[in-house]
Symmetry: D4
């Protein structure tokens, strides 16, 4: 039932979310109590036969592994994953970064999208200070249904990409940089103020969120839509 | 040619944009010099047979009308439009607002999307302080390929909508409010920090931008995609 | 005497506060010198026969325990408590949280209110991204004389709750979140700008403050008032 | 029906609010379209036999008067009111200000509370730079069920009052001041960080909100409560 | 004498500046009292035989013209100028803008540099949302000794230009934009955090400052240097 | 000679400062390299026969003690001191704090003033939430030539003190607090916006600065002035 | 009586202030209601035989003149004054500005100090970009008991002056500047972070406050002090 | 080829940068993965025969040394360097600091400039609180083609230097300070708002960036320019 939830006392797992929104609940591990973590992973794995955790430390992975030994950990993206079997990945999402320091956030986005069944093309280190690197990837970018642009420092990547492609660009500011980068706020402001069209923005370092939205858009593109209400104006 | 542009000296009209990104250039009228405005409207109308202007004052409309008498003005959204003929609108975009004061921004989004050929469902004044109003519209929301959520003050509308639908939500913070709303920055922060999935954010009062992205997503949904690169992981 | 205080040199304990405001002084342990801590706990216990400390570390608890072995520590809320005996709890305060990470702040509020004699109903993890979880608790919320709404990230919980109940809502922003949450400032701004009525806000993570105010309101509701100056206008 | 609303197209009047929260909808006039304003005033007057509008200009009052000639306007608080007849005011709310420039916000709070049936005691110009003025009013303050403290500039009034009374203090920062007052943000921060207990804060210049919450608390105090769930801990 | 100044009572004109820094004092007209303005223009014209005023209104120009009828006004850059005779312009400064709304600031930079004897190449409307427009100007950019990059909104122009040229780029953020552009602060932050090398930044809308620094660099390039202290390390 | 300095290469000790400003240079130890620290302490001790260091860690004290074994360390104020002999302290400076957590900053102020020869009266923990504690100290406050008011959280102490005394109040915001205290910025803003007269403000936690200025004022009061230029207006 | 006040209903004039703090109440005219203004001016003139108003418009002056025809207005400082007769001005306060645009704030400071009986030396337009202008005034600066340093833009004047004199410097940031000056906040931050000793800061554009404090210090210097409590340490 | 790059998968080394901009790529070590670091150092050393790394920890140096044993580390500037042989340094860049705590940033600037072949004059600890120290260095400053001014706290050094020299000043704000220095933002704002001409600003603590730009300007000065397009206006 789409309005159901599972009440653990300290938490109310939104088990109806998959039916309601098409995508199941994912575990945001950061600051979760160890006991809570185990309970939540067990319940979600039981419910869905697979589970993804983000922002997980190595220590948290060890704890999850005790009860779910098949769990896998990816250090760069800091994700824990239990997946039923190989997935058919469909559609095409391009995940690109401005620099190498932005890769952890980009990998969180890419692995989230893959977990949800999307095909992902990674295009890293194409920041605007050497624009030829970005231009050399135009063909790849044009194949995507949606582009995720991950950038810290001044965050200009999103604007340039937005001017090159015809599909939506999900911009992810990162906290990469120092001084007046204000922990990523500067990159966020750059992206929100972009002079290019088709750019919308998620929270700083929110790779998961970008992977989620990219999946939503990719699914719409792959499936086509029956929500077509003809009108005239 | 997709890299072409038209050099007016003071401006380089991106006439290749339609080929490159699928959607032609729109005139952002705010702070444009009267002479520049006329030139730009003429050139774009010549090139595309239709033209849209946003953030236009009544005075600017009068100036445009001198040279393009078929131009129409909408006071609420402050848009100027010349359109070839009735358009077939396809797909489904829901544009909703928290309050009545958010309607001008929502109308800018809706009219932009309609100009680009999208069918738009307007759902106004469903702010979260009377949650039953929002819940009564669930059916309409579920029909959309993408939702535009327009809200000022604390901007909580996007989070609640995001938890109810399976499609992307484009959140538009507005400058509606006073005091600690900081001209819309508070609503922007609310939306960027949303605990719900599937929400990405555009600039404060940027109805045009939201209408543009919603159109991109709606088109992908309507057309389906040939960009489907099967993979496995 | 209500204007009395106890001068320890480094501190002037407001021993008149209980008479003046109805509620005795509580120890804010954070950054207190170990020696000062012992002195203050002793004096307040002597004066009132009970004492509560907030923001206490495990180490501080050990220090207090040396001189007051009957002290108890709660790890989640980080409170130290010495209580005379079982208390009769009266009235009804609902303490609810958006997520599980907000529980420590909520527990500080709940335990503070209980220490002061209020009955507390805990309702955790009812954030707005799955609005049905919140709606399923409406009955409980309606039984309260005052609601404490604890939320980080975008802090939208307070607005939705405010629209559902007829009693005051004390909103507590938490520092839960990352990036543009600005250490809780974003949630604070959301709550201050709430479009719902009946919401007032305390400092970020200030569970104690919310528990205090909720107690004040709960007492007024329980006791009724003799401060009724009939007028006409 | 408490979940009912009245759909005007541009607005969905929350006609169920009175049943749901005990207090009917009030018109926030600022930035409302003239046509909308008339419609909303008519409908609410029809529904409730009385109506209050806040943040109204003289011009807006003239417009409302055309259709509701019995409407009255108060220049200082900028409120429009139609009231059935003399009201019995009960309980006791103290509304105090730091300076004379804070009076308009205080009057908005006071008149809102009176419209909702509360007795209000006005205590103006008792800012902390001449603390004897405040101390001379202690007796009056002690008679209140709740105190509304309105202050701009550095906003220290709330802290001092909070230390003197045993009831909740609703602090209203105002935009009064200049330079580093940041349009009221400085006073808001002062009040949120108050070292005194029992203080919660509403938005800058939000007299209406303070009057609303004060009424909620005053009602609880006057009526006493049947929501008394005895417990023991 | 390089430490001389002319004391007008209300002002101390730095008449030694030309000798000390190589460039004479310019009049910043904004908020200058009319009487002061006349005095300052007269004195500087007397001293140097020419004078430049920036941020001047049409009204201020009329006032200056009364006493110096040979003065000329440029509406776009809002500069007043009296120049001895045609100047030989040397070197090469490229002044480019992201959009047409940035032209007033760019013209202030260009005219300042020309007044100080530099040759200026104007390259307008080459913002990064249509990167081909910028790339088509590479040849012109490469001819410059220094580039002034003027951009509002997200201000990404400076980063892309910085990656293309081998000379210093003076970045000028403008207040063009709305909402989260924060009056130009967002563009300033973008530029300060640029991932490209060779970019330094001046105040928002400070075309004059950029023209001044560009002249200093252009002069060094044109003249070559005798300040060459050979070393080895 | 008052314009002399001692060039150590990495530093230029302002040995003329004592002659120029009446008070010798003090060592700000924070982030100083160990080697630099020794050199600077030696040189200043040689020059003046005494020396004061602020913001010193225990480790830095050990290093200084190696070369200057007569050095003394005070843990609370984190100051290192070598003093010729007992000093005659003159005048009267009141140093007061809002809470006990503000004492370290207050002690830095007090010890600085004492090192410079001022008599200091300490009045701690008189914050405004229990105003009677402050009022009980009025007599002591009235004896001072200048008051230093040290407060974190909302920083209201300065305003109340400013209204009680006829002498200047030096307000020192501290970083004591949490959440919206913004590391002391909130207290700073409170003090800068104070509605009371006679209050000026120094940097957050800058006890040294306050002790310095208080000494300057105290000296003027003690010595009287020969700078008395009679005029008439 | 020093705790007396005069209750006008809308205001409680602090008539005890002169006795308590040595200086009578001054009228801050900004945003004062016309009726209130008249009442306050009359009462204070009655009480003290003289009165000063700051931040007054020409219109407000006309209103005051109706009832107090002997009132005088100074346009630059925007002050209204009624003074008994010529005053003997004693001591020496130096009021200096960085630029000519800072003069209105400096004049407010100077005229306030003169009204309170201090001799003032004006030293205008000595900003640090032409440091020789400042150095040429050293002798004058050294004659002062206290210096008021008024500066906008980057506000560096206070630091340089602070390094030159032995007396306290009251720094007044002004809102002069544009762009990243943030309405004076930048200058305020510069002054608060000054590396020079002896600098304390008042609110942006608060000439009155600076004139008040300077007077307090000047009086201490002129009168010498009987508050000399000898001690030894 | 100037548009070439070397694709390492995780990175796209901009090997065309030297040809395109005249200066080769430098390694920003902060937050770089150990494996990535080795690869990048090897490749750049291979390509250019020399390599510079900034923001390197001692640990990172050890890692680089394993594969490139000739690498050298400078602790103060935290730079790693492999240089072909002694370099002829030409031109003249003055690098000055306000205090000793600013030296690490200044050394990063100086060593970067030297690595690129510029002669550097170091002038440390000449902050404006003892202006005679700065004035004593005027002769040295006048010999430079460009000045780098490094300062934390209030950052006033740049303004004073800017008024003394005729060449460009690159201002580097540092994070040195505490409290309201906001991690260097205050110094940045001071420099951006400078009342002196010829000052442009780089990011907080960005010594590398300043050294880079100073080199660009120094080269132009040394080489003279062939980019001299005579014009007349």
């Amino acid at each position: 039932m789409k309005d159901s939830f599972c009440d653990l006392g300290f938490a109310k797992l939104d088990t109806g979310r998959k039916e309601r929104t098409g995508i199941g609940e994912v575990v945001f591990c950061q600051r979760k109590d160890d006991g809570f973590l185990k309970d939540i992973f067990s319940r979600l794995f039981e419910a869905n036969g697979e589970v993804l955790g983000t922002r997980a430390t190595q220590e948290q992975f060890e704890i999850v592994k005790e009860i779910l030994p098949q769990a896998e950990y990816d250090k760069i993206s800091r994700t824990i994953k239990i997946q039923r079997e190989k997935k058919n990945l469909c559609g095409n999402i391009a995940v690109c970064t401005a620099g190498t320091a932005d890769i952890p956030v980009a990998e969180e986005a890419a692995r989230t999208a893959e977990f949800f069944g999307s095909y992902v093309e990674r295009i890293f280190d194409i920041g605007v200070s050497g624009i030829h690197r970005l231009l050399s990837q135009t063909e790849k970018l044009e194949k995507a249904n949606v582009v995720v642009a991950v950038a810290g420092m001044e965050g200009a990547l999103a604007s340039v990409v937005g001017g090159l492609v015809s599909v939506p660009v999900i911009a992810v500011p990162t906290s990469v940089g120092y001084g007046a980068n204000l922990g990523g706020i500067s990159a966020l402001l750059t992206m929100i103020n972009s002079c290019a069209n088709g750019i919308s923005v998620v929270n700083i370092d929110n790779g998961y969120g970008a992977g989620y939205i990219a999946t939503q858009i990719n699914r719409l593109a792959v499936a086509g839509s029956v929500k077509n209400q003809a009108g005239e104006k």
